[in-house]
């Protein structure tokens, strides 16, 4: 169970995230959608204690993440390529993560055999360092690494971006299984409404740091989201001006 209390993040006088309250029950597959700058990555970074909250806190399985490090053993994440170590081969990277998570080498090897399909023969035994893999293949490595050591919370930022169609479909299966069979809480953000409605039991829409929708996924959800975003995609003229006013200040800060 992840609980958010009065959480906000402010840079100078611009509030980029403000979530008074949010509960994510254990074993839920939770989807986060929103346009650029809505605060998705900010939320995930707060959840991983990579940035400090301005107010409030997040409680993950009874651990307040910005005061204790005890959330680390049961949490795994792939946000971007800064979660990869470029000079390692994929195998070395997996074993490294495995060792940090207290997994024997054989266990990691066993786990990897389940993802042979997913890797499509382009990851293991390729004599390449991670830095030399394509973006898509790097992403595959990062995603699979989060499954090592049976974490209870898995956080994936934009996992579908950069993946080829086959892998996208396989990844959807993997994520659904994780939540349904193993009781893992999966947090996913995506710009692809179709994928996210397919994979997630619950979808939260962020806009300018605020929760504007909190939907339990149903057959009508995709339509609802599409309707919302086609409206939100064209903000009223006054809003555009306000946004333009803010940006230069933002850059100088």
């Amino acid at each position: 169970m992840i609980t958010v209390h009065e959480l906000s993040k402010t840079y100078k006088d611009q509030t980029v995230l403000n979530i008074p309250h949010l509960d994510i029950p254990k074993g839920q597959s939770f989807g986060l959608v929103g346009n650029n700058g809505a605060g998705k990555t900010t939320f995930f970074s707060l959840l991983l204690d990579l940035i400090q909250p301005s107010t409030g806190h997040i409680d993950s399985h009874g651990v307040v993440v910005n005061t204790s490090e005890d959330w680390k053993p049961f949490t795994a994440a792939f946000i971007d390529e800064s979660f990869l170590i470029g000079y390692l081969t994929p195998e070395e990277y997996f074993y490294f993560i495995g060792e940090l998570r207290g997994q024997a080498k054989a266990d990691v090897t066993e786990l990897l055999t389940h993802f042979e399909d997913f890797f499509h023969g382009e990851i293991l035994g390729q004599k390449k360092y991670l830095r030399d893999l394509s973006k898509g293949n790097q992403k595959k490595v990062g995603i699979v690494a989060t499954f090592i050591g049976a974490p209870e919370v898995v956080i994936l930022d934009e996992p579908f971006a950069n993946l080829d169609p086959t892998t996208q479909i396989r990844l959807k299966g993997i994520i659904k299984d994780l939540a349904a069979k193993s009781g893992v809480t999966v947090l996913v953000s995506s710009h692809d409404l179709m994928h996210v409605t397919e994979v997630c039991e619950r979808i939260v829409v962020l806009e300018k740091g605020q929760i504007v929708k909190d939907i339990v996924t149903a057959p009508a959800t995709l339509k609802e989201l599409e309707a919302y975003f086609s409206g939100a995609a064209a903000p009223s003229p006054t809003e555009t001006v306000a946004a333009a006013d803010i940006s230069p200040e933002d850059k100088t800060s």
Binding site: E69, S82, G86, Y87, L88, L100, D132
Partner: protein, 490 residues
């Protein structure tokens, strides 16, 4: 067009994330540059009279004789320090500019480099002195022109060989061989090169030779760049064939072993960290300056400790100094993984300790210079392990410049080493042991002075756990700032 490029350069400088440290660094670098300028200037004005006084022969000819070494040193210096102009080319590939324009600007940028114009501070005053000393003015002027052409030729040769490290190392080895042969009197290269430089000084037409050379190499550099301006050619990042390395023997150290394995891979597989390692090995020879009595000012006994600290601490200063920046590319991963800071920092500390211990063993040959010389290395090593090992890690917490592991440039005299807090930390790192030694040696004996410095190290070691708690606290309090800073790639 050029103006636009220049304005872009300016913006990339003032808008860099590390601008503030940049300015501090620029100021410090300014001082360093000023120092070099003064040295050059002093040399330019004084060398004539020095040679005259030492009665080595006609000063102009003596300078010409050694000019080949001057140029060779310039080459080495450039290769290791001068930045290549390829950065920032990629975005220009798609815009409506001809490739020739982009290449020309990139090469033009190197012309105004410090590495070129600093030489003027030597050549200008030297030429003026020559003329006032009644050397034929016109000939001197043309000699000057020829030398300028050679310096610029070096500039373009550097651009050309920059991607061919093999050629460079062959060049260095050849020159060291020639230098040694000269020193031991087997073969004197300068006998064959001096006539060329003398020719420059005596015949006006001779300056056409270096000018032609300059023309050829600048053209070659241009064509080379032009030809390689493709994403899969000159602008491509080189791929190496990866080999999996197990280091299974480290497994017994548990979590610590995991980090150690990773750090060893880090050092072996990245250009920048390899340079730190080589730099560390190079420091082993630093003691020769002190113990051979080659440099008079270093003869004081206090300097032995100074030497000892650097001989045993080469790796500590070259690598330890930049912890945790080595992990900057994947710092968020490290910070969200199931690890404790203490383990992370301790692993780095053990690596430094191991390397320092190894340096102490490798420094054995210093016994040749007497027991005291090696004792100084041992004592310096103990101090490094006991005190400096912590201090570099502590200082590292305040260094927030990400390291580009793939780039070997900027490995020396980097802005990363300059920052008020880290500068302040050099006091206990180097000055404190010198002071301890000096005071004890003054009132007691040299042996006791050695013992006191070593004792300081041992006491430091005993407080290991306490110190690690403090360092951990510093790392924690700096964590968010560090993550944010590492995101900004310069």
């Amino acid at each position: 067009m050029i103006l636009q490029f220049i304005s872009l350069e300016w913006k990339s400088f003032i808008r860099a994330a590390s601008f503030q440290t940049n300015v501090a660094m620029k100021i410090l670098m300014g001082f360093a540059a000023l120092y070099f300028i003064l040295v050059f200037l002093g040399l330019g004005v004084g060398v004539f009279f020095m040679i005259e006084k030492m009665e080595l022969g006609d000063p102009f000819e003596v300078v010409n004789r050694y000019m080949i070494y001057y140029l060779a040193f310039d080459m080495v210096f450039r290769y290791s320090m001068q930045k290549m102009p390829v950065t920032n080319i990629k975005p220009f590939l798609y815009v409506p500019l001809t490739k020739n324009q982009v290449v020309r600007f990139s090469l033009l940028k190197t012309v105004v480099s410090f590495f070129n114009w600093s030489h003027a501070f030597f050549f200008l005053p030297f030429s003026i002195v020559l003329i006032t000393k009644d050397y034929p003015a016109l000939e001197v002027l043309f000699w000057h022109l020829g030398m300028a052409a050679l310096i610029y030729a070096n500039n373009y040769i550097n651009v050309l060989i920059n991607s061919m490290s093999g050629v460079f190392y062959a060049f260095v080895v050849t020159f060291i061989a020639f230098g040694a042969a000269h020193y031991f009197g087997w073969f004197d290269l300068t006998l064959y090169t001096a006539p060329f430089f003398n020719l420059l000084g005596s015949h006006l037409w001779a300056c056409l030779i270096p000018l032609a050379l300059l023309g050829i190499v600048s053209r070659a550099a241009f064509l080379y760049f032009r030809k390689n301006m493709y994403l899969d050619a000159g602008l491509a990042t080189k791929q190496e064939e990866a080999s999996t390395q197990e280091f299974a023997f480290l497994n017994r150290f548990g979590n610590l072993g995991t980090f150690l394995k990773n750090d060893i891979r880090l050092i072996l597989r990245n250009k920048r960290s390899k340079m730190a390692l080589y730099g560390g090995l190079f420091f082993l020879f630093y003691g020769l300056l002190f113990f051979t009595g080659a440099i008079e000012v270093y003869d004081g006994p206090v300097w032995k400790i100074f030497a000892g600290i650097f001989v045993s601490g080469g790796f500590l200063f070259n690598f330890g100094q930049f912890v945790p920046s080595w992990d900057s590319a994947y710092y968020p991963l490290m910070m969200s993984q199931n690890i404790k800071y203490q383990d992370y920092i301790k692993a780095k500390w053990y690596l430094i300790v191991l390397a320092t211990a190894a340096s102490m063993v490798l420094a054995m040959p210093y016994l040749y210079f007497g027991l005291n010389a090696y004792l100084a290395v041992l004592v310096g090593g103990i101090y490094n392990i006991g005190i400096n090992g912590y201090l570099v890690l502590w200082g590292g917490a305040y260094i927030k410049t990400p390291i580009d592991l793939a780039s070997g440039k900027k490995a020396f005299g980097d802005k990363q080493s300059f920052n008020a807090k880290t500068l302040l930390l050099t006091v206990p790192k180097i000055l404190l042991p010198l002071a301890i030694y000096w005071v004890v040696a003054l009132f007691a004996s040299e042996e006791l002075a050695f013992a006191s410095v070593a004792l300081a190290g041992i006491v430091g070691y005993l407080f290991k756990n306490k110190v690690f708690q403090i360092i951990e606290k510093v790392y924690k309090s700096e964590k968010y700032k560090t993550i944010a800073a590492y995101k900004q790639t310069s």
